[in-house]
């Protein structure tokens, strides 16, 4: 059976048998960096095309269909255009911060790829505080956004960055508490442990109603954290033209754009890992033959399938809902989601202590 685990193991064995351990480790690092960058570019291309196709389908039109078969190379053409464009820096902008901001947002998105398990035993860094690492690093991207808004010397950018700061900091709480409920049930912060604990069923099904509530809150919170509609106030184009990235052009704009899609991928993969069992196949109780059949589907396909399902949900939100107002957005978090999450975590703890989950 095809498995990514075998490939990585073969490569590692070969490297360590032919080189000294230090050199082998360095070569491994180089391979991982190349793979990460390649994945980054590939995800950007696939997700942008997917967004446009999903939007087109919802809006009764065809979407990109001229460049390549089914418009497959449309994003490539767009990227080439963005690379060739002039990267303007406004005259009165804080040039250092202005140029630094897109890279911070990008680096944060790249760092977040590290603890994600793409398939069985196919993970860059299985750190024992994986979940904590994700929530800690993901909150750094707000610095890049605030920096971009402040350094642009543009009032729309400043307003967008202000909104974005308030929004991301608030919704971090709910997202954190939703993640915590799975951590409580598992008793581990390590991604591989969390996936292992879902061998006999995903937490969404095992954890009764409280975990379903946590999952819904997680979806809402991450939609807000990635600045996606209906929470796209930071770049609400009918109000603030383009929000915090109004003044950016060319490749630096592309970095913000790409980072947004990578962030969507990352939060969805975290959601898939915590609630939908990561690369674990779907197993139903005693249905031996069914479970056996499910095992034949490669683990990477399971992981990608779940992640892309969640990405589709987030895209569906964007093309259906109007945008919230800034005070309604904060009301939703502080008056509804946060109290519900706090109460919910109590319930989950009770379930975990009494062992009521399956």
């Amino acid at each position: 059976m095809f498995s990514l685990e075998g490939i990585t193991k073969t490569i590692q064995d070969w490297l360590f048998s032919s080189f000294s351990p230090t050199v082998a480790l360095l070569i491994e690092c180089a391979i991982i960096i190349l793979l990460a960058i390649a994945l980054f570019a590939l995800l950007g291309l696939v997700l942008v095309l997917m967004e446009r196709k999903v939007a087109a389908h919802i809006q009764i039109r065809l979407g990109p269909n001229r460049v390549g078969p089914g418009g497959m190379f449309q994003t490539v053409a767009d990227t080439v255009k963005l690379i060739m464009k002039e990267g303007l820096t406004p005259d009165m902008a804080d040039k250092f911060l202005f140029n630094l901001a897109p890279f911070i947002v990008m680096i944060v998105a790249m760092l977040l790829l590290a603890p994600i398990a793409f398939a069985k035993n196919f993970q860059i860094w299985d750190i024992n505080i994986g979940v904590l690492y994700v929530s800690a690093v993901s909150s750094l991207s707000v610095i890049g956004i605030l920096m971009a808004g402040w350094a642009s010397n543009n009032k729309y950018s400043l307003l967008g960055a202000m909104r974005s700061g308030a929004q991301i900091v608030s919704y971090e709480l709910s997202a954190g508490l939703a993640i915590l409920s799975v951590v409580v049930l598992t008793g581990s912060l390590q991604i591989s442990d969390i996936i292992e604990s879902q061998k006999d069923g995903w937490w969404l099904f095992k954890g009764h109603i409280p975990v379903i509530i946590a999952f819904v809150i997680f979806l809402i919170a991450v939609t807000a954290e990635t600045n996606r509609a209906p929470f796209d106030l930071a770049e609400a184009e009918s109000e603030l033209t383009a929000g915090f990235h109004t003044e950016y052009s060319g490749m630096r704009f592309a970095f913000f754009f790409l980072a947004e899609y990578i962030n969507i991928f990352i939060v969805c993969s975290i959601g898939a890992t915590l609630f939908l069992g990561g690369w674990m196949p779907l197993h139903i109780g005693n249905w031996e033959s069914f479970n056996h059949l499910m095992d034949y589907i490669p683990s990477s396909v399971w992981f990608m399938g779940k992640t892309f399902f969640l990405i589709f949900l987030i895209m569906w939100f964007r093309w259906t809902f109007p945008r919230l107002r800034v005070d309604q957005l904060l009301n939703l978090e502080w008056k509804y989601l946060l109290p519900i999450s706090l109460f919910n975590i109590l319930l989950v703890t009770l379930i975990a202590i009494m062992g009521w989950h399956f």
């Binding site: 939007a55 919802i58 809006q59 009764i60 039109r61 009032k155 729309y156 307003l159 909104r163 509609a229 209906p230 796209d232 106030l233 609400a236 184009e237 009918s238 109000e239 603030l240 033209t241 093309w319 259906t320 809902f321 109007p322 945008r323 919230l324 107002r325 800034v326 005070d327 309604q328």
Partner: protein
Amino acid sequence: MYTQTEVIKDTTASGSEGELVINMGPQHPATHGVLHLVITLNGETIKKIEPHLGYIHRSIEKMTESLTYRQFTYVTSRMDYLSAHINNLACAMTVEKAMQIEVPERAQVIRVLMNELTRIASHELWIGAMAMDLGAFTPFFYAFREREMITEIMEDSCGARLTMNYMVPGGVMYDIHPDFQKKVKAFVQQFKDKVTEYEDLVTNNVIFQSRTKGVGYLSKEDAISYGCSGPVARASGVSCDIRKIYPYEVYGKVEFDEVLDTAGDSFARYLVRVKEMNQSIRIIEQLIDNIPEGDFQAKTKAVLKPPKGEFYTRVETARGELGVYLVSEGGTTPYRIKYRSPGFSNLSALDHMARGSKIGDLMATMGTLDLVIPDIDR
């Protein structure tokens, strides 16, 4: 008029402590044209809005003075381009009133049918654009699906999709296309089938309701004192439908209701327009099978010379009351023409309605005012 640099210098100077002055427009996605709003903000709260006009001023009223009575109606298609038919009708009616021309029954019915189709097309575009202002992109495409059918009907009979120039003094320019009745009936059926989609996607949407209910409140007294008209005033409870008060053409003979609401907020304005589309469908259904035979244009002289005097007509466009004031000296061209455009008066209430609300609310308020900038500026 001041120059561009003066405006920028004027408005970037910050006001008192903690205030932020932003220029929304003339190039901004939410102003739907070249409207320039100078907004004084305290954080996200609006303290003052000052609209600056003149970016699309084409001096239509002055141009009219050198055009003949047959020519000047065409220019008005470029005023409120979403209700071009109704603008043309107002001008044609003024000339008919001055010259005392009897319009044949057939022409009157065709005019009313075209007017109501225009009204629906205008409201369809407005639903899409307003939903887009509030951040929902999809209703725009749904609304355009129905609007496309109307523009095709217009194209068949008038030869144009947007600036039709179909109404002429004495009637309409050409007879209707043979397929007209069939296509209009198909459209009415399609509209009735698909109107539930708007209900699901927009009207019953919780976020949409919370964005518009209680936002941009305009009381009945304020609506009257600002001179608001059309759906904006009717949502505040002012009965001002010219089609009902001063019936023109065959509006006196068809059955329809004047849609009124008393809430006065953005959601009420939304509901009034949606219900108005249904009333327009009702008018179309009554007339489409009863288009009388006969001439589509009255016999008029080649050169029109209205007698000396002052004449005023008013019609109900998709945005409100359009008045045409004509001063004739008895020559071949008007001495003076003044248009009373609905958008200008409605815009004047914006500052009053939006003060104290958030920037996000301004989009709901401005969206439901249904501003068409060339109509305001002329």
